[in-house]
């Protein structure tokens, strides 16, 4: 009998997700045992046309990571959606844009200029990539950039969302395990649209640090101060995103002494991740004088970066149909 088919694809992403998958150690053998890997550009050779040739829904499980930076990404997203039973937005990039999504702070022009004219680039004739170029052999084309980076969910219908940059290996294990179980009819898959491989509360839930009433007189950058190892980082004025970030990572960063930067995205049911933090951080500022408040806020060097590092493309504001038009 033929094994269920497995695909994994990277759009605009860094490849960390693939490594995270391989990082599940010997469990990867179960994957191999349970699935026939039909398409996984990082791990094996395969051609788009092979996928195109497949029947709709032929792929059982597709872990799709990366955001929609160019038309190729979108094309493959639509293709894999069509061919897959279970389409998982895998990792922060696919779920909410992640670091590549930060490009949405800038216009295409700014992005291209930065890439092709900064001092680190040796490009004396100031050459720009052309989407299509006439060669003797005929026209050759390269993908063209989208005006803004979109998430997978903003582009195609997604069955499950699996947050994390990258998703924790133990969570991947669990999810893959669950799917295998389900295929063998031993388990029930969660309802469509659910967030899988993560908790439902926030990082604070798993964070071992002591916490008291919060009043912030000053924000500081962790590299510039000596943080108390026992005490809640936010109370010490270190902007820790833990309070708003979905748990599932076992509070790795705060436990290790670094503030949470929010790669697991918003908690269950939250509309806009950044808004939660803006509101929470501002609420506990210990001042009622506008000037003083501004002084304290100066300690937050890059607020939007702080609150939307992973979430910009997926943020409420940037999901706006107007913003999407780019």
């Amino acid at each position: 009998m033929s094994k269920p088919k497995f695909a994994m694809y990277w759009a605009a992403s860094c490849g960390g997700c693939e490594i995270a998958v391989l990082n599940i150690h010997e469990k990867i053998l179960d994957v191999d045992a349970a699935f026939e890997v039909v398409f996984w550009p990082v791990a094996m050779d395969a051609k788009y046309k092979d996928v195109e040739a497949m029947a709709d829904g032929e792929i059982t499980l597709c872990l799709f990571n990366g955001g929609m930076r160019n038309d190729e990404n979108e094309h493959i997203a639509h293709l894999l959606r069509k061919k897959s039973k279970i389409m998982v937005a895998f990792g922060s990039c696919a779920c909410e844009g992640c670091i590549p999504g930060l490009a949405n702070f800038s216009s295409i022009k700014e992005i291209v200029d930065t890439a092709f004219t900064t001092i680190t680039t040796d490009n004396p004739e100031n050459i720009r990539p052309q989407s299509s170029f006439a060669m003797p052999e005929g026209n050759i084309t390269i993908p063209t950039l989208n005006p803004v980076l979109k998430t997978l969910g903003q582009t195609v219908d997604v069955d499950y969302f699996m947050p994390g940059c990258p998703p924790e290996s133990h969570q991947i294990e669990a999810v893959v395990g669950l799917v295998i179980e389900a295929l063998n009819g031993k388990a029930e898959l969660p309802p469509k649209g659910a967030t899988i491989g993560a908790g439902t509360t926030t990082v604070c839930d798993d964070c071992p640090r002591k916490r008291n009433l919060k009043t912030i007189k000053e924000f500081g950058r962790i590299q510039l101060m000596k943080a108390d190892p026992e005490l809640c980082l936010l109370e010490q004025g270190i902007p820790c995103n833990g309070p708003a970030t979905r748990n599932g990572c076992n509070a790795r960063c705060p436990t290790a002494g670094a503030q949470c930067i929010g790669c697991y995205g918003p908690a269950e049911g939250v509309v806009d991740y950044g808004a939660r933090l803006i509101s929470a951080f501002a609420s506990v500022i210990d001042s009622n004088k506008p000037e003083e408040i501004d002084k304290i806020l100066d300690g937050l060097v890059d607020p939007a970066g702080q609150f939307y590092r992973f979430n910009l493309a997926g943020s409420l504001l940037r999901s706006s149909k107007y913003a999407q038009k780019g």
Binding site: D272, R276, F281, A282, I285, L317, R318
Partner: protein, 155 residues
């Protein structure tokens, strides 16, 4: 947004608190003071209820500007909650600027229940300011990012 219906009529979403600013709006009404029809008010119990999500939602939904209004500092019906609104306003504004939304599109207004006239006048003023800014420009996100912040970021 190339051709706008002329003249450009901005849509402004206004958040008022139940006790002062909404009553100020009521008073403006009872006194038949006239102001621009561009604002559409939402009543909250307190400006402290103002969740930045609401502001993002309004902009995302096509509002050209957002007004946040509450009791004067010290007069909050809930003792001190309008101060929390003030703090959020200050941070929110910074984020919006980075998100490419001009600071002039978010306004904080303290109005007591007796200040119907001020409320009306401020709405007219705000409407004109926003009209001057034109429709929210989504074309080049990031272009209005104030340079100091960018420097900080890229530094």
């Amino acid at each position: 947004m190339t051709e706008e219906p002329k003249p450009f009529e901005p849509v402004i979403i206004g958040f008022t608190c139940n006790w002062c600013s909404y009553r100020a709006a009521d008073m403006a009404g009872t006194a038949r003071m006239k102001y621009a029809p561009n604002i559409r008010l939402i009543r909250l119990m307190c400006s402290g209820r103002l969740d930045p999500t609401f502001v993002f939602k309004a902009f995302a939904g096509g509002a050209d500007a957002v007004l946040i209004s509450g009791c004067h500092p010290g007069d909050c019906h809930y003792v001190e909650q309008n101060y929390k609104a003030m703090r959020r306003f200050h941070l929110l504004k910074r984020v919006l600027v980075q998100m490419g939304i001009e600071p002039g599109r978010l306004k904080l207004l303290w109005a007591s229940a007796a200040e119907g006239a001020i409320f009306a006048a401020e709405i007219n003023k705000f409407t004109e300011e926003v009209r001057a800014l034109g429709p929210l420009n989504w074309a080049q996100p990031g272009e209005q990012v104030s340079t100091p912040i960018m420097e900080e970021v890229t530094a």
